[in-house]
Amino acid sequence: MKRKKYSIPSPRVSQRCNKVVDETENHELCPYFANIPSHLVVQILLQLPIKSLLICKCVCKMWKALISEPHFVKLHFHKTPVSLMIRTKDHRVSRTLHLLECEPEKFEIGSDNHVKLQPIFKLPLRDAKSLREKMMNKPKRPVRAVRLVLEKNTDKNSDGDSQMLNIDSKPYYDKFGVVNSCNGLLCLCCPFEGNPLVISNPVTGEFIRLPKSANAPSRVRKLEPVGFGFGFQPKTNEYMVIQIWNKYVRRSYTRVLERMIFEINTVGTLSWRNVEVDPQVSNSTLKYPTCLNGVIHWIRFEGQTQNRSILCFCLESERLQSFPSPPHVFRNHHTVSRNEPISMGESRGLLYICDRSSFHDVTMWVMKEYGIGESWTKVYNIDTSISALGRPDRWRCGLCWPLKHFEDGASLLLYHSCKCLIYFEPEKYGFKVFRIHGTDSEQVQIIPHTPSLVSLKDVVKGDNIEVLNIYSMCANVKLREENEVLSLSQQLV
């Protein structure tokens, strides 16, 4: 059909012919040009990765406000790919976390390429206060636990006023363990007992120290840990931390349980509050805290019977109760192993359980409808008798994290200890083995953690607790281990 006046030109043609005309027209349209409305700016910003968003905070005040806005942060978090943080183990403070975003491209790299695990984030040091004191005193007194090495500042980009200090810090004092991750915030704990000490957002570098509880263990008061957890209550928009201890007293030559201590701290407040719950739980250990829908879930390992089940605590109603578990998974009592072969977590709003208790298989279960026991679905059953490494191999320390939404033909990342990751894509190519390079640590630890821009300043709401920033404080403290750059490469079998 013949067009009336102007046939639609092909794009290239129009650009060539009308170039001069366009430029003047663009100048005339300058007002539009300068002012993309903020709702469109938001749509553009939502497509950017976190690194670019933080750079964009510097563009102008309005952009900083848009990016810091809690609703934007929440929307952006939902678009961030499922990620894992990797850190080295082995007698180190292990304060650096290397991010692995689990996007398919990362695993299509082939055997000749290396993918750098970036960006790198830092955790605070557990005993930073005494470290700083030691740093201040360094010219005068020899220091017991810390050796300091001063290096000339050759780096042009640093603050200029101070020197980079290479510090040999001792993990005994400074290492943090991790309780769990929730909404991009990490709950850090004492690596020995497991009690929560700090909440941090590694992306923004912010962290806060949790208040000390009156019931905390001390040199005189020995408590036995039962379980810990960190979660988010969507109805009140608050983050809560839980600690559960058993207090024993000596009677004759044995010890008797005096009481169980169950306490909650609302992050941002100064005290821990006691909650009355069924003390039955005191005979168990609670592991793999996972927060979903305002409820913290654990796998409960009962002391005497070795029974396993799922226990949950609703942050709103403050009730502790059992939660439906996948059929048969917890019935296998025989494996009383130290490496609990069952783990639990949450991915994209669904609870999952990874069962490695069978000699031959690794099984992944997903609860497709929250709270409905029948909806536990076996998503994968991976036969591990012939492993990806081409020979029959028991999967050591095999932990399992789902990477994609299960309906998308999901893939799993299995960690086969000793710095080896096994990527399992059932639809495409089965197994691929990846090795982590760049560190002389024998082992790595993997923490499921999807980064977000949630600001602790919004969480804390008020002046009670000080929000500290790791980059402002420890900008010139660098541990030797921080020189390592980790990368991933595929290992052909």
Partner: protein
Amino acid sequence: MAEEKSQASSSKMLTLKASDGVLFEVELNIAKEMKTVQAYIDDCEDIETIPIPNVLGKHLAIVIEYIKKTNEEYDAEFEKQWNMDDLQLLLLAANYLNISGLQECLCKAIAKRIENKSPEYVRKVFNIENDHSPEEEAKLRKEYKWAFEGVDKD
């Protein structure tokens, strides 16, 4: 040639008039993808020429072409040919005409082009003035030090 009024409404033609006077004849079902135009038609059924005062002819041409061929492949190629100015004007056009698919596509394309670029570059692209004080900016750069490492050269 006069517009044909055929029996089937899908082949009814409509004329769209861009801000610089350029006219485009499009089928009704194509025009309806632009929700703004749809609203116009709903209001006055007999309209034959619809003015699009905020959009230049060259951009309207691109928008119409996009609507005609919406498949995944085309999207990927689509963005590469346009410069930043055009992308922004197209975004404004897609926003005004209320075509959500095109809007999302353009936002992704613009985001790709500013990803990992310095704040100076981004300001230049969007013609934004820096209203941070030097202290504020220095503080942000220090707090988010890791984000500023490895930024692409402008």
